[in-house]
Symmetry: C2
Subunit: 446 residues, 2 copies
Amino acid sequence: MERPLKVVVIGGDAAGMSAASQIKRRIKTAEVIVVEKGRDVSYGACGMPYNIGYKGDIDDLVVLTADEFKSKRGIDVRLLSEAIGVDFNSKKVKVKSIASDREYELVYDKLFIGSGAEAFLPPIKGITNEGVFKLKVLDDARRIKAYIDDKKPKKAVLIGAGFINLELAENLKRLGMDVVILEKLDGILLNFEDELVDSVKEELSRNGVELVVGVDVKRIDESLRVETDKGVFEADFVNVAAGVKPNTDFLKNTPIELENGAIVVDRYFRTNMDGVYAGGDCALIYHRILDRNVYMPLGTNANKAGRIGGANMAGANEEFAGIVGTILFRVFDKGVAKTGLSLKEAQDNGFDAFKTTIEAPTTAHGFHHQGKVKVCLVAEKGSGRLLGGQIVGDAEGVWRVDVLAAALYANMTIKDIQGLDLAYSPPFAPVWDPILVCANQAIKRV
Amino acid sequence: MERPLKVVVIGGDAAGMSAASQIKRRIKTAEVIVVEKGRDVSYGACGMPYNIGYKGDIDDLVVLTADEFKSKRGIDVRLLSEAIGVDFNSKKVKVKSIASDREYELVYDKLFIGSGAEAFLPPIKGITNEGVFKLKVLDDARRIKAYIDDKKPKKAVLIGAGFINLELAENLKRLGMDVVILEKLDGILLNFEDELVDSVKEELSRNGVELVVGVDVKRIDESLRVETDKGVFEADFVNVAAGVKPNTDFLKNTPIELENGAIVVDRYFRTNMDGVYAGGDCALIYHRILDRNVYMPLGTNANKAGRIGGANMAGANEEFAGIVGTILFRVFDKGVAKTGLSLKEAQDNGFDAFKTTIEAPTTAHGFHHQGKVKVCLVAEKGSGRLLGGQIVGDAEGVWRVDVLAAALYANMTIKDIQGLDLAYSPPFAPVWDPILVCANQAIKRV
């Protein structure tokens, strides 16, 4: 009898657990061991800001527990178990049990690395003080919720104006806190067009969130006074969300190929090491419009990487179609959505591109409720090929980004978009959908 | 000096006014005359049920008045002016002024026929009694609103269970009326899959709307008692929506090609008569999936037909991409959406088709508000080509039909749909969007 396939998965979040599940589903006899350094696997991290703001039970975010993966799917999930090294020659993962402080080795035939990313903490004095948080893993959310319950903070300073802190701003306001956002750069959402970002700034202002850009945070003292080059901001709660970096320190000094710390993979999620696959926030991912790898650590991408990578580890031959860079988030009553490239991103990547931005209603003329959105389409001159789209406006109307994501997948031109048979129904869309309104303008400039 | 191009447009609603506007925009010197038998041009007819239910001002639905078309766009719009005949040889339209009862002729170089459709009134005794309405043109809505204001009816019987009466049911309930829907056929929404229609029936029932199918309405008496083979239904308000028929009686006995009363056009909206174009509810329209003309009288289709037909009349050479048959409406808190073909429609048209239906959440796992929708994908066996999609469920989630409309336009397969980079954001969509959940199931059966 053949010995069973030995699979090790490093990291028990979206990518890792998707991979583990795929392999076990396809090869029943495989021995699949997942080592996860934290206490949770398979949870909806993107829901954390809302769980805080709507005062949900933190366990609501858990999709499956480690025990459930064992009992339902036959996967040996080891929590508080950190991969601290890999020997790709002898095909061994060195694991440290955090609870027992014991180290041991796991032999693999196939390895999936889904070790994720960690919050980047800028070199600010006092950034580890009590009351200064990050919001990356479920334990971070637990800590924040316990602190809010206990200390009932009234003044939040959020360092970094990325989408996590924008979502958190809404949710801390929901809890009645004053919120100030400090951003080091001179603007926010720099991969969006200015005319759309203006709507986000207005929405923050309308909801009493103070946004300070171009500010250098020097120090956070023990009473949580945040000292900057633009004055001191008093706080009793601080969250830092200044980007993430791949969790790949344990791979340094190994022959696996990294790029800016992220694992290089092909469209099958194979690394350059034999039998070793990777995906999720620790790895690059193929971008369909750019036709090259990018680093874009998002939950959807991690799930797909795990699913397809896992299938391929189990013998499938699935080529990943690629991402087109779709992102969507809510800021109070507005939605902020993007897919593909901004004008600058397109130009930086060598496209002769132009953009067209319109504002249009999202409900029918005369309907009792009137919504509106701004739509920006970025396209290539001459060919008219769609390169990207952005939608900012009333939250109910920004779903249209998924239509543009489909259009990008299919390499549609502005002319194609004009031809789309989009729905018309007074509560949902006007007779000329905002996407069509924008395409009808853009076509004149192709 | 050349004499100006003489253009006549029959019908002043979506198709006709779009065509007139396009021509005038492209050829400033053109003399464009629109004859409209009613009192309104360019209004959002689909908004009428909501205007009744939310007690809006009926004029809110008017986009532009006849006077505005004259002053702003230089179009000679003649209201209460009915086209009663066309001589395609001598290129003349015979017009009857309803106000003055005068008849006269208009000579044209180019003619656009956008005469629309009228409500089909089944041969039921008493169908023209006072208190029995139809809801097709703005004057119908005016009459209904005046009647409701005056008589304050309490019991509505709606004859026909198409989307107009379903929308009206919601809105009459909003006004506090009891509502019974009587449908002659044995089911409702027969071009949807049963498992999705069940959700619509439940929503009607949950909202106290009585639906009776397979019922033969015999007679409506003067006190609005509706007599049927399933008993008598008391009413003080009746609306009949039993389908529409093209307004083309004035073209009978002319050589223009009709099919079941609808004008036959090509993908440039040309009829078989020299210089004569047609579009909107009086004409057929090209269906991209079926690769042939169909009759599908909807506002979006009419607008596109007018826009493209008008451009072509002014010298452009725009081929219409075709509809894919997208429809969307709301029934109380549920949305009902379809694009492309149902399983039966696909099979009836010679496709070796299968369907896959799932139910899935529309918000992230653990998000405080949970929505859900049923998604059905119809695809071709072997190739996996998408042929249609239906979405029924919480109104907030049914917009996804537009993603499927884009997929249909692009001839995507189920595999392609699996590859779409759809947005993930807790308030808007779970990490696996319902469309992807359905595609992940459907792929197993391709």
